[in-house]
């Protein structure tokens, strides 16, 4: 029974990993670009949620929307002011752009919020429920379910809507897309907005269920890398499956080996992936 609880907990956490990692994989698939500040976008989502609750007194619905919009604009702004320029430049500029941004965001957060762990005040969504002998904390349950739903929504958005197909066209073949009248620049900006938004919402969801500090950005960034590497660069469904798997692995490792090992196992998995299957489960190299 305890094991089942651990597994379910892992899946719920994994769902959130899936959500923010799909943002990262979208950018990678489209532009062959890794956003080293992606984890910080998640972290921003968490603190934005906190600020909405504390300043505006809003509930989850309110901060959910606020975070989604705020991070969307942040993503577009980062693309327009920074990414767009470095894409044409040397590798040093490309890597350092988001790497530097990550440092900037992370240490600014440390400075403003200090290194203490915080959590959202309790809402009506607290407590646990008993599902067939397993105790599931409600916030985590809802966060996980919402996360997986949103990931699926993102996937559908990309594959079933006109806008989505335009995004994918640019990802597939930029020149061909231009010939079809699609503006790659706009689509790339949109992708960054969506990516940041996904990260932010994942952060906000996580904030309802788990405590955090500014250091989580670094950890989530790395987890996103591993999920994307496992699931395949550019594949949102891959990110979904991989996210769930990583969540499970973390949960089980923490249970069997001890809490300190949950990150070690994930990064070690990444090192192994490097050698065995760099292109991931479902993606292209």
């Amino acid at each position: 029974m305890l094991l089942v609880q651990v597994l379910v907990g892992g899946l719920l956490l994994g769902a959130i990993y899936a959500l923010f990692s799909s943002g990262l994989t979208l950018i990678w698939g489209m532009m062959n670009f890794i956003n080293f500040a992606h984890g910080e976008f998640v972290m921003l989502g968490m603190y934005a949620a906190l600020l909405v609750v504390v300043w505006l007194g809003g509930g989850p619905a309110v901060f959910g929307v606020v975070v989604a919009l705020f991070l969307f604009f942040m993503g577009v702004a980062v693309y327009a002011s920074l990414i767009r320029h470095v894409l044409r430049g040397p590798m040093l500029a490309q890597i350092l752009s988001t790497f530097g941004l990550a440092l900037l965001l992370r240490y600014t957060a440390f400075w403003i919020f200090s290194a203490n762990f915080v959590s959202l005040p309790e809402t009506w969504l607290s407590g646990s429920i008993d599902v067939g002998g397993i105790w599931l904390p409600i916030p985590q349950l809802i966060a996980g379910l919402l996360a997986i739903t949103l990931t699926i929504v993102l996937h559908l958005l990309l594959t079933r809507t006109t806008v989505g197909s335009r995004l994918l066209a640019v990802a597939e073949d930029r020149n061909a897309a231009m010939l079809m009248g699609i503006r790659p620049d706009r689509m790339q900006a949109l992708a960054w907005g969506l990516s940041a938004s996904a990260a932010g919402i994942a952060g906000a969801l996580m904030a309802t269920a788990y405590p955090w500090s500014p250091s989580v950005g670094e950890t989530f960034g790395l987890i996103a890398f591993v999920v994307v590497a496992l699931g395949g660069f550019g594949s949102v469904p891959g990110a979904m499956y991989a996210g769930l798997i990583i969540g499970l692995i973390q949960s089980v490792s923490a249970f069997w080996l001890g809490p300190i090992y949950k990150d070690i196992v994930v990064y070690a998995l990444f090192a192994v992936l490097l050698w065995l299957r760099p292109q991931g489960l479902m993606g292209r190299a």
Binding site: F36, L92, F99, G100, F110, E218, F225, Y267, A271
Partner: protein, 325 residues
């Protein structure tokens, strides 16, 4: 008589200044800055070989630094060896690690390599923090008092200063030699356009690997020197992300891919770091890294070639204006 170009003259003056520095600034505070400057210059110059010249951006170079730092103190604590003896072991471990990381990732795009360097560095950092044999979170210490000259435990900083200066000179000489030979040209070609380089017969994977292994060797050496001088190492000071960041920003600020870029970067940032740490006290390190993050973004956005590149552009504009006038 050979004409002394401004660059040569400038370099000669700087070299003499470096040699005389400890004799002029005998105050321990300034001496320490000097030693820190040299160490930072060595690390950044080592990073520069693979990051600046070859264009393969490692943001986890602390993994080599940390291995180099842990090896001497580990073998001292475990087997009583003089810390110096651990230096080659640290280097060997770093080279092996370089091969492990480089082989799979160098075949893929540059972003993948960068990502791998962060992940592996973090993996090692966290793992070291849990392993008691290497001191876990507490870390390792070196000899408190020298058992002989071979322990390299000096009371003052001056001997360290000259040892580090010697290592820096050797590294810069090696880098300069590389610049002039085929290996250097191939590095720059790979950085400029890998696909075209391949089509001209450049053995891309091999060259990248050599660059990474050479870089890892000297980064490891820098780590060893740090550990021997400080007499202490822990997961954060060995493998922490800030160690990696410092190497990258110093090289990039001065000019990645240039011989003296890392020196220039260190010349600016080390005193700056010392100053901000003094002004802001405890919270200083947080602000310093906000500043570093900002500087890195600005470099990436406006002048990836660093200050040397900026200087060349300014000079070229000035020269063309003079001709036009």
């Amino acid at each position: 008589m050979k004409r002394l170009s401004p660059t040569r003259l400038g370099f000669a003056v700087f070299a003499v200044a470096l040699l005389l520095y400890p004799l002029v600034f005998t105050n321990p505070f300034f001496l320490d800055i000097g030693v820190t400057f040299l160490l930072a210059a060595i690390s950044a110059s080592a990073w520069n070989i693979v990051g600046g010249y070859a264009g393969q951006i490692s943001v986890g170079h602390s993994m080599f630094f940390g291995l180099g730092a842990y090896a001497p103190l580990l073998f001292y604590q475990w087997l009583g060896w003089p810390p110096m003896a651990g230096i080659p072991i640290g280097i060997a471990a770093s080279v092996v690690l370089a091969i492990i990381i480089g082989m799979p990732t160098f075949r893929l795009t540059g972003h993948y390599f960068s990502m791998a360097t962060i992940a592996v560095a973090e993996l090692i950092r966290i793992f070291t923090g849990t392993w008691d044999f290497v001191g876990a979170a507490i870390g390792l210490q070196g000899p408190a008092t020298a058992r002989g000259w071979w322990d390299l435990t000096f009371r003052g900083e001056t001997p360290y200063y000259y040892i580090f200066l010697g290592v820096l000179a050797v590294l810069l000489f090696i880098t300069h030699t590389i610049e002039r030979r085929r290996f250097g040209y191939y590095l720059r070609a790979i950085k400029a356009r890998e696909r075209a380089a391949r089509s001209l017969g450049v053995p891309v994977l091999q060259i990248k690997m050599k660059a990474l292994m050479l870089s890892a060797t000297f980064t490891s050496l820098a780590g060893s020197l740090y550990a021997i001088k400080t007499g202490f190492i822990d997961p954060e000071s060995g493998f922490g992300i800030l160690v990696s960041v410092q190497m990258v920003i110093i090289a990039a600020l001065g000019g990645a891919g240039t011989l003296f870029g890392p020196l220039l970067g260190a010349l600016i940032l080390i005193p700056l770091q010392s100053a901000t740490n003094t002004w802001f006290g405890g919270g200083g390190s947080g602000l310093t890294y906000i500043l570093y993050g900002g500087i890195i973004v600005l470099i990436a956005r406006f002048e990836p070639g660093g200050l040397f590149e900026l200087w060349h552009r300014v000079v070229a504009k000035y020269r063309s204006r003079r001709h036009a006038a």
